[in-house]
Symmetry: C2
Subunit: 355 residues, 2 copies
């Protein structure tokens, strides 16, 4: 008997606990991956990184990007693997000047008016990001058969913050001010980002991404009104665009510090899963977020640095609270460089021993 | 007929819409004041400030502090007046080295271990802060009879962040890490701050403060577990301590970015009012926060910079949503220096025209 392409596809997904959860099952113990699992806390990452000039060049070198994506899988056997790249490849591909300064984070030549928007080249995005799709194509062959492959992008609001402020800034005051002062101008930027991000994600799926995550790191600074217009609405449009082309690829949203607004975000955007930062109590999330939505999160990344009993208790609390729910174990925010790798191993062991 | 002292006191409070709300009435239009209403956006403030050396010296000079506290009352006729001071007078009074650098904000000699805590002098706090009580005593005579007088302090967690990090830092990673790694040590710091802050606030009441506000600006960065132990529990203890000495003085809590945790904060700490940042939807707050608690907030301080129709709509939305509730109009966060004073006047006019 020969399997149809659909059956082959289904069997492939069925071998991956991460995708089984997103496709509809409760899996126990839950699958686990960690944001920034490929990163500076691993000596083998720092070694690859040292051999390449700029951080964006690193993202655009498939050999290097594939290698660092695989490193944490070899060490820890995570259930999912996220493409190694950066949310700022979008402004870079749009033609904005983006650099990463050591110890300072990203610096962009800020866009503050319509003339800056007019220079952006939306049509060039997919072509400019070819190396990233190459990385995904290779990863989809090289990762273990039980590991899910996640593509990702920054959400329009968060990417816009960097594009307008020129860097990450706690209050995001220029971007917020522009959006209030000239909503039609700011909407033009959001439209550009919705289109570019949709095209980028659709191409990631074609290159092998089995699920997608949208990072909205600066969602928490907004007023209720701006959260609706700048976080929820652009995300809803991206989900709609991607679904037209890739109806079966689950999308996880991460409206960091979205707090009270998260249930509305889930309902209005139609995301299949939501990643929760460490400020969200799971008993609340279980009650307020529709069961059709997978929950992901939310171990405090500082506990992963501290380790020991405090870490074990943190893991146990999450496992207890998320029983009977489609759930993916993750952090509330990315792994920080000071994290001892043995603490990551300790978490995975504890989760897998809990089933 | 002669009034008893209690009757005199009651008549005095009755003349102040701000206190009438806190004491139990719905007042329409609602009373209004704004966080950082005495500040750099006012030219007359900058003039007084220019005549004095350091920022702490400014806080400790009653002539100057009284003058800048009165300035916004003269211009705008706010319904409440908040003592001009800084939350970092507590570490300063405890003996920690605190300076304010131009354009950088506060810088402290950070405390990172028990030996640093052992040097702090809790007993000296009230004595060291004598000039602040003098400022309050003068204000209680000089402010208009319809204006409420608010004393304030930083909450232990937020003050601890500055004491441990040495400055404000988005992730508060050192303070959060210490609290996880050595809870008993960090608890010692929290105990010192609970005692110092309670004594400080009790003395403010003796000097004339008619209500108190506790600012927890860094509440939003915490995990659920740490929010309970570092925000809710220390605040609960301060409320309890102050009530023993001043049972009738209402206390407003401001757990900024506390989001989902705010209802639990209100119930567990017993605050009389809660100030909401601009990320909190009022329809949610009306439903989830017990009616016994006054709501305060939450106009976006960027709207106050932008002005115009967007500002008017922001004001109107809040007024509509808070009808039928004990409510005090305020911002979601302090006035920023770029704010045009005429926008403040515009808001007050609009509120007072709405009744």
């Amino acid at each position: 008997m020969t399997l149809s392409p659909e059956q082959t596809q289904a069997a492939k997904r069925q071998a991956k606990p991460f995708l089984r959860v997103l496709d509809g099952e409760i899996v126990s113990p839950p699958p686990v991956w960690m944001m920034r699992q490929a990163g500076r806390y691993l000596p083998e990452y720092r070694e690859v990184r040292a051999g390449i000039g700029s951080f964006l060049e690193f993202c655009y070198t498939p050999d290097a990007a594939v290698e660092v994506t695989l490193q944490p899988l070899r060490r820890f056997g995570f259930d999912a693997s996220i493409l190694f790249a950066d949310i700022l490849v979008i402004p870079d591909a749009l033609g904005q000047n983006v650099t990463f300064k050591e110890g300072e984070g990203p610096v962009l030549e800020p866009i503050r008016d319509l003339s800056g928007l007019d220079k952006l080249d939306v049509g060039g995005v997919v072509g400019n990001l070819a190396p990233i799709f190459e990385t995904l194509r290779r990863l989809s062959v090289e990762i273990p058969k039980t590991t899910g492959l996640i593509g990702f992008a920054g959400s329009p609001w968060t990417v816009a913050v960097y594009m307008v402020e020129g860097r990450g800034r706690t209050e995001c005051e220029r971007a917020r001010g522009w959006a209030y002062r000239a909503p039609a101008e700011f909407q033009k930027l959001m439209d550009i980002l919705v289109d570019a991000t949709s095209a980028y994600l659709i191409e990631q799926v074609k290159a092998g991404a089995e699920a997608l995550q949208l990072f909205d790191s600066w969602a928490g600074v907004l007023s209720v009104e701006q959260f609706r217009s700048l976080v929820i609405e652009p995300t809803r449009r991206i989900v709609e665009n991607v679904r037209k082309s890739a109806p079966d690829v689950p999308i996880i949203g991460f409206p960091r510090q979205g707090g009270i607004m998260i249930p509305e975000y889930v309902t209005e955007t139609g995301v299949d899963g939501v990643s929760l930062d460490h400020s969200v109590p799971f008993d609340w999330a279980m009650r307020e977020i529709p069961e059709t939505c997978v929950l992901q999160g939310n171990l405090d990344n500082r506990l992963l640095v501290v380790g020991g009993d405090a870490l074990d208790r943190g893991v146990d609390t999450i496992l207890e609270q998320t029983r009977d729910r489609r759930f993916i174990f993750n952090l509330g925010h990315g792994i920080v460089p000071q994290t001892p790798p043995e603490n990551v191993a300790r978490v995975i062991e504890r989760i897998r021993g809990s089933g």
